[in-house]
Symmetry: C2
Subunit: 81 residues, 2 copies
Amino acid sequence: MIAKIKVTLKKGISDPQGQAIKGSLQTLGFGNVQDVRVGKYIEILIDEQEMKTAEEKVKEMCEKLLANPVIEDYTFEITEV
Amino acid sequence: MIAKIKVTLKKGISDPQGQAIKGSLQTLGFGNVQDVRVGKYIEILIDEQEMKTAEEKVKEMCEKLLANPVIEDYTFEITEV
């Protein structure tokens, strides 16, 4: 199975990287860019047959390592390979 | 409109960050993790009414700034806010 995980900064948390990209895009002429938020996209290949078990494990991976619960949110979807 | 962009390393390009996360997950007891690939997830808020125009602009943003065409691929979807 493959898990596709998005880790994003929580609303209200400042995003200097996003602001830097926004400035660069505007400098390149993309004047209608209003806001940019940058996060992580992680794909994990797991040797697991049961969808429910895979979901529990990916949730645990996110909470233990992949996302900082204080400043980040995460979402994921799992598909058969 | 909001563009949701995934920037990922092309197949065959080494991913030291992904390998480091894989090692950490296995150390934490997730033995069935076979591979990890890490990329960027970027959300851009654009003041644009036409979907087609927005798509063209996001494509241009990806090719000019957000993705390195030599080592990265990108995909995106655009939704009304």
